[in-house]
Amino acid sequence: MILFLSSLVVGPVQFDRPVWLWLIPVLGVMTFLIGRKSLAGMNARARWAAFVVRIIVIALLAGAMAEPASRRVATDVSVTIVQDLSRSIPRVLDENVDSYISQSREGSRRATDKLGLVTAGVGAYVQILPSANARGLERQFVGATDGTNLAGAVRLALGVMPQDAANRLVLISDGNETIGSLRSAAEHARAMGVPIDILPVQLSYDSEVIVERVALPATIRGGEVINVKVVLSATKATAGRLQLTQNGQPVDLDPTSDALGYEVVLDPGKNVLSVPVPPSAPGPQEFEAQFVPLGLVDAAGNITPGTGDSLVENNRAQGVTFVGREGWVLVVAETEEDVQHLRRVLEESEIRAEIMPADRVPTSLTELNRYEAIVLVNEPAYNFSERQQENLRQYVHDSGGGLAMLGGPSSFGAGGWIGSPLEDALPIKLDPPQKRQMPRGALVLVIHSVEMPQGAYWGKQVSNAAVDALSRLDLAGIVEVNWAQGVDWVHPLLPLGDRVQIKQAINNLTFGDMQNFDPSLRLALNGLKNADAGQKHCIIISDGDPTLSRSVLQQFVAEGVSISAVGVFPHSTRDYNSLKDMAEITGGTFYPVNTQAALTTLPEIFIKEAQTIKRSLIWEGPAFSPAVVAAPIESMRGISSVPQITGYVVAADRGGLSMVTLRGQEDDPIAAQWQFGLGRVYTFTSDATTRWAAGWTGWGQFKAFWEQQLRWVMRPGGDANLRVTTSQDGDETVVEIEALDSEGERINFAAFRARVATPDGKGADVQIRQVGPGLYQGRIKTDEAGSYVVSMAYKAPGDADGPPIEGTVQAAITRPFADEFRALDDNLPLLRDVAALTGGTVLQWDPTTDNLWRRDGLEMPVSTRSIWLWVAAAGIGMFLIDVGVRRVRIDPRAIGMFFVRSMRKSEQKEAGEQMGSLHAARAKAKARMDGEAGDKRKAARKFEASADMPLSDGPIAVSGPSEDTGSLRKPEAPRPKPTNSEDEEGGMSRLMKAKRRAQDEYGKDGDRK
């Protein structure tokens, strides 16, 4: 059964479908049985030869069908070092590691053995691909080191390990990981049969102070004193200065001293310092405590300066609390014109608002939560970083904040919001409707190399950003120099549609070297010239060193196509100028990028650039009054018609739960609203200025209209009195809510909808259950450092006749600093566990005995190479020999004689003598064979002749002149033995006779007809 199901290994050959090998015995037996009759005319030796050759043919052909592959067992060992470079491990260790590896290599490594290096920080990076050439350990870009992702590094090392060698990983670490699970990665390694040896970095800090956390109540009533508790731990008695900031501003803890903060002496172990802070403004209050060590304190109370602390990174911690909320709105606008009429509405409606441009908008979600609603007025997407856009989305979805987006020429699709994280939060789709006929934009990206760490990653990010900012109707193409195909479209200039194809093309970009800008630019221009689009634009990303001719730029000018150039680390002023000229001559923009940090802004640049062709999404035309969609909606109460507008940004209905309240040309949505997660969103694609809505500013219901919209989106206040407390429980935080109504009675049976906004930008639902009278509890996974904001919307049944009690409440939790700096000891048990799990060992830092490249415990990989074609070809070759063996008899003696005589050729004068002797030898051999064959010859004919064919008891045909010799004549031939020519004649004559007979019959038939 095994032969049927699995592969079969025979020496150096492996058969993947060995079932076909059954053909060999089956057909072998059949061949033997059939051959007994059909080969009866041959002598025994020839018959056996024929049989053996036939069996070989069968074996080869069956072998070919069994899918044979040659096996090669590897002999090399590849060792990939996974080195923990996180900041918890002192960098001085690198030298020890280098010398250890160097000595190990000399001791145990064979010349063809491989060495590789992967480093682990927050991210994992391959420093050296496993190679026989690798000597020392070279470390280049290692990324952020304030975290340890050992699991990622082990997985990366498994991903890059060579397939033609047995692999071993050597993990150099203290075992303290902050991201991922090393154990699960070790399981992965075990499944792949790769042992992980451990080279432990044993750490223990003699004297260390950690600011564990800043403990604050989750919420505080307005006017209440905030009691900030700072939890510190110290290994030894240490003196130092405690400093505190509130929202970034220092808090004077000791008014009697000129210095900020005050001096404290910490006892060994946990210390809790309590600092009362006076009541402050409403909203989230973020406190940061910092401990500045002065030195160890001895028994006599003397301070030894400069001692007491090893790591400074763990000397600060943050905490957040919410001080009683009041209704504030944040209005984001770039110009006074955009906001002047809205300002009037806010003032008249007594809605307290802060108005600021986008660059002053808070960057953290915690700070955003100070506001009940955020209003974006004619704001383009590129004014907000990707992270800010994520925060805005979370602010609505997870924190229950309100968002109103008001239009203008730089808003919605025309402002590059298509594809942004916020797009999903809006009640309209920013891509125009598919059926809508409107001018399109065309964009070509010309991509050159991006030479820097993670260059390819950022190159792809920016391309994606640009493509995402376009609408589905726009055309986009990418030109690149590919080493194999040359200058070509990676993605032809086509409408984007669902963007799947272009995303694939971006993923396959190679960022190839470019000698000359001209062919790429010409290709881009030709594409744009033929494109059916209103706005045409080209973006080039390059270091600027390819050759550039000005004539090609003039062609761009002539065609009205602009080029924006992104100069990534230009080599020289000349390259810088080359790209700058390219942009200036064609009317585009030049963006120099000279730092890694600037590189991360590239996606925003590209979104902004993509906006160049997005003006086509703006509708401007004769004034008309948007149609009010008749529906009983709170925000449109009392408004039955609205004044005329002259422009708006085209968008499409989202459908589902979104509600369109005003419609424009071709039923385009002008105003729409919906509930998104815990928050509400309102969009108005026209504007609130005289640009597009001149008639509105003097409209009697202008204030009522906008006040209703804004109040609708604002986060609702609460009817109840809720107190939230949080407590840490391992990797989780327990949120406890005590709910009292306005009369102090406990609220039972409240339904909570809660979301937590996590530091990684993703949110998560939180299950909150009642655990006692008026007491509710939920658990949140808080395993990453950073701020977590929990927003809860509650609804509880009211009194018998009264309305239900509902509202929202928020709380913040802060994991103070990266766990990287929390551990004061190594985590050797985990490392030992990993070694035991994978079959590795814990090394002793002794290069002479550790023997990194040892063979034991490793399974050598086997590589296979298909050889069925060769086996089949050999089978065909053998088949021809098979035919030959049955049809042609080779006389080795004659051949041998010939060679003997050939060697004596120079001695022999007459060629006739040679031939004569050869003939004589052949005759002799024939006589011998005839004698041996005896009576069996009677059956030696291969083919059964017809009855009228003359029978022969010898070879039917014999070639060569020796036929004339009398010695070859059969002694008992019943008839004269026909010669070869006679036989041929006989055959021919029979054929002729048959032909004549057929002709006669045919003739008769013809005559009959």
């Binding site: 050296i128 040359g486 021809l880 051949i895 083919f943």
Partner: protein, 373 residues
């Protein structure tokens, strides 16, 4: 064949079987043995007898190598980590190396082995330090224990940024004109970046002095017999002592120029369709018999051409990552009959049997011509 047929007894009147049998054996032999060989293949994979290098920063590894030269004493390669490494011609073993003194602005793209400007008996390495706008001359690295990441200052360098006479923008290659005693008579430097031209220098006691330059940026045909020529990125040069010509690869115009040693245009190869065609000719080495091997950056092959007629004589390799395939080859060099192609995109050097020896040296030309150049 005759001998064998003499030993064959055709048992039946099946001469057809015999022919089929012999033919079959022949076909099988062809299948197994492969097709017959031609000295210069036409686009077949390179039959490399030595491959060395892989990606990385250790000894014998490359990070996108972009310059190569070779002679019987070694193969020298410079890569994008600004490391110059020398390898054994026979084994590919690392023989020594160093790092360029500066590389932040960019890395070199051209290498030439040749005698010192002032001492014909000392071999030096001329590096076209492209982004530092100069030619830097280093001792040939000889110490196999030397750390190739250790920077080394050049013994001599010349060139400053500029567009004036003797100034450079982006230098790409150096060609040395030697006299019959092997001493440097002239130095030819090619460059691009607006200054797409070739500048000619002669050695002086303390360096070089500028003689003249020829070529401007453009793709025009120029005027035969004059220095009125246009280049778009002249990438590599070589001197043919037999014909006393300077051969130049005009990379972005996809052509090869033949010039007198005074810079006068003789002809272009590659601008007529009946001649050899190129796709970014990048690396050049001359063969005996007025032939040249040219590595094509985007053609992904090494083409052999007849310089006299402009005809293509065949080519080695095609685009790919596998054995005998090429990815963006930046250069080709010769040591005796061994050709070394710099397979940049694959971070390796492939050695194969060249279809002839390298073009004769001036001494050899002198000897062959009886002393008259």
């Amino acid at each position: 064949m005759y001998a064998v047929s003499k030993g064959i007894h055709i048992r039946q009147q099946s001469s057809i079987s015999a022919i089929a049998w012999i033919g079959g054996v022949f076909v099988t032999a062809m299948l197994i043995g492969g097709a017959g060989c031609n000295e210069i293949p036409d686009g077949a994979a390179i039959e490399a007898d030595l491959v060395f290098g892989d990606v990385g920063l250790s000894y014998g590894q490359f990070s996108y190598p972009r310059g190569i030269d070779a002679n019987e004493r070694g193969v020298v390669v410079v890569d994008k980590s600004a490391r110059v490494q020398r390898f054994d011609v026979e084994t590919g073993a690392y023989l020594g190396g160093f790092r360029m003194p500066a590389w932040d602005l960019g890395k070199p793209t051209g290498l030439t082995l040749g005698p010192s400007l002032h001492d014909a008996s000392t071999e030096m390495l001329y590096v076209a330090d492209t982004h530092y706008h100069r030619i830097a001359v280093f001792p040939v690295p000889e110490d196999a224990t030397a750390d190739a990441k250790q920077t080394t200052e050049p013994e001599l360098s010349f060139g400053v940024y500029g567009e004036g006479p003797g100034e450079f923008v982006y230098v790409t290659d150096v060609a040395l004109l030697l006299d019959e005693s092997g001493a440097v008579e002239r130095v030819y430097v090619s460059e691009y970046g607006g200054n797409d031209r070739i500048s000619v220098f002669e050695p002086t006691a303390d360096g070089v002095s500028f003689l003249y330059s020829f070529g401007i940026f453009g793709d025009g045909p120029g005027t035969v017999g004059t220095r009125d020529v246009q280049f778009e990125r002249p990438q590599a040069m070589a001197i043919d002592y037999t014909t006393r010509e300077l051969i130049v690869l005009d990379n972005c115009n996809h052509r090869v120029g033949r010039f007198t040693l005074e810079g006068e245009l003789i002809t272009w190869i590659g601008d007529d369709t009946d001649e050899a065609q190129f796709l970014h000719p990048q690396g050049l080495v001359l063969l005996e018999g007025q032939r040249a091997m040219i590595a094509e950056f985007l053609g992904n092959r090494v083409q052999v051409i007849d310089l006299a007629t402009g005809a293509s004589l065949g080519s080695y390799g095609y685009a790919g990552r596998g054995e005998g395939e090429l990815a963006s080859p930046w250069g080709v060099a010769l040591a005796g009959r061994d050709a070394f192609v710099l397979d940049s995109g694959n971070n390796r050097v492939q050695r194969f049997r060249a279809p002839g020896r390298s073009a004769p040296t001036p001494e050899k030309v002198m000897a062959d011509s009886g002393g008259t150049p």
